[in-house]
């Protein structure tokens, strides 16, 4: 199914849907999953993001996203100045991640309250993104849905409690993925939902035994 507003749209700051709009979305996703205001970020650019990124404003777009901007924000070209005002410091480096999508970046961010995030994501075209790695664990989600990212200890129990909680709140799960480092280690539940997940439900999810951390990305409103 093709969304006609992918054909005519998005409304975005140029010049490239993949290198600019997608990069803003990646930065925004990193801010959201960090769960607090970022104060420090290392941005490791791979492939085409590294080689043609500067000419496409990819660097400024990533910082803009980290500052909470959306792809149509007119301040994207001056995001470096906004970062200074808002106390976000950042560095860029070129990396070779091997056989991954050419438009890939690793964002390593620190939050104002001490949160830490390491996220690998790629821009897959037309402004769409795919998160491929989170704090060392391979994941796969796009932000096209409301997305719960629940960190937990790999053990029996948390999954059924989480899904029970969601069903009680009449929140329908569209997709669900379980990803773990190793048996018994840290694991991540990625749950994409049709309905938005209200803050109080997220608080309850955080109380589930074995769950260490809950973050939530609400899909962009149309």
């Amino acid at each position: 199914m093709i969304d006609i507003f992918d054909m005519l749209g998005p409304i975005m700051v140029g010049p490239s849907s993949s290198h600019t709009a997608g990069a803003v979305r990646i930065g925004h996703m990193a801010r959201t999953l960090l769960g607090e205001r970022p104060v420090k970020a290392r941005l490791c650019l791979h492939g085409s993001f590294a080689s043609t990124g500067p000419g496409h404003g990819t660097n400024r777009a990533l910082v803009a996203g980290l500052l909470g901007m959306h792809p149509d924000d007119m301040r994207i070209p001056s995001s470096f100045d906004v970062a200074k005002e808002e106390g976000l410091s950042y560095t860029f480096e070129t990396v070779d991640l091997g056989d991954v999508h050419p438009n890939t970046v690793v964002v390593i961010a620190e939050g104002a309250e001490g949160a830490h995030l390491e996220m690998q994501a790629c821009s897959t075209g037309g402004g769409r993104i795919l998160v491929t790695r989170l704090n060392g664990i391979a994941v796969s989600f796009t932000g096209d849905y409301n997305t719960l990212v629940i960190h937990n200890q790999d053990a029996a129990g948390p999954i059924s409690q989480v899904t029970t909680l969601l069903s009680r709140q009449k929140i329908n799960i569209a997709n669900m993925n379980l990803c773990r480092e190793a048996r018994g280690g840290s694991a991540i539940m990625v749950i994409e939902t049709d309905e938005a997940v209200p803050p109080v439900t997220r608080l309850f999810l955080g109380e589930v035994e074995g769950v260490t951390h809950v973050t939530y990305y609400e899909k962009e409103v149309e």
Binding site: M12, G55, E222
Partner: protein, 295 residues
């Protein structure tokens, strides 16, 4: 309905008496489960963003590479002087295409239509016509729905990105959308819309995507001028009753096939065509030195 072939949409149009734009609107309402008003409001935002992008253009900005900026202003001034070869409407169309393409290169806000690189083609034909004929906004939205439906068919049968199918898929698709939008605005029949789309696409078949230094600047900005002029020619031919000997869906399929056959060097990789000229390579080298990125 699935927007997969112009022929299938034509059958629905004949059965229901609805125009292309209305079928596309209803498809959007079904797909996204939204009301008619909500869908039209979103399309209104798209239209207003096009208008805004044109109005805030001053020609003062330059792209970070230094290659793009200011040409839309030159063309506007030339058009205002009144002594153009193609007449004032044509000059306005060219100016609009340049202004929009430059705005994109210079990190201003634009509407991808269907892509950011081809963002100048649709507004280049729609804005001057809207100004000249004082077309009400709701009519413009109808034209945009028609264009979006055309793009959906092209995306589903072929492709709309330069990386997948070359510039013919990107500015070519934009040109076909613009041609269909123009015929819609002139009250042309469903068949005339199909003829315009077919002819617009036929005339750009095989066009390479060869951006200098991989940036959406050279030749992308001026290709939008071609896309817009090509759309006007195709729309006028269709309204004159001229027909494409190859039906529209087959033309779209041919575009997809040509796209797949284009060597990878001519599909946005910046390894062939204008990007591989001595000057194109020199630009790339200069930019690498400025940004300090190793290739």
């Amino acid at each position: 309905m699935e927007l997969r072939s112009m022929e299938a949409i034509r059958r629905v149009s004949e059965e229901t008496g609805k125009a292309l734009w209305e079928i596309v609107l209803e498809t959007d309402m079904d797909d996204r489960m939204v009301s008619r008003e909500s869908s039209m409001e979103k399309m209104r935002q798209i239209w207003r963003a096009m208008v805004d992008a044109s109005e805030i253009y001053t020609g003062s900005r330059r792209s970070s590479s230094g290659m793009a900026g200011g040409d839309g202003l030159k063309m506007r001034q030339y058009a205002e002087a009144g002594d153009t070869i193609g007449g004032s409407f044509t000059a306005e169309v060219i100016a609009e295409a340049l202004a929009m393409g430059e705005s994109n290169a210079c990190m201003r806000r634009i509407v991808a239509a269907p892509t950011a690189g081809s963002c100048g083609t649709m507004p280049a034909v729609l804005l001057p016509l809207c100004r000249r004929e004082q077309i009400p906004e709701d009519k413009m939205l109808e034209a945009l729905y028609a264009a979006a439906g055309i793009a959906a068919v092209i995306a589903s049968r072929a492709c709309i990105s330069g990386a997948a199918g070359g510039c013919q898929a990107e500015v070519g698709s934009a040109s076909a959308m613009a041609a269909g939008a123009l015929v819609t605005l002139r009250g042309g029949s469903f068949d005339q819309i199909c003829q315009a789309v077919a002819m617009a696409l036929k005339m750009v078949l095989g066009l390479a995507c060869d951006p200098v230094a991989g940036l959406v600047e050279v030749p992308c900005i001026k290709r939008n001028v071609m896309g817009a002029m090509n759309a006007i020619a195709a729309a006028d031919m269709a309204l004159a009753g001229i027909r494409s000997q190859i039906p529209v869906d087959e033309v779209i399929d041919a575009m997809g096939e040509v796209g797949r056959r284009l060597p990878v060097e001519l599909r946005e990789t910046a390894l062939g065509g204008l990007a591989a000229t001595p000057t194109g390579k020199a630009v790339k080298k200069r930019l690498r030195q400025i940004t300090g990125v190793k290739s």
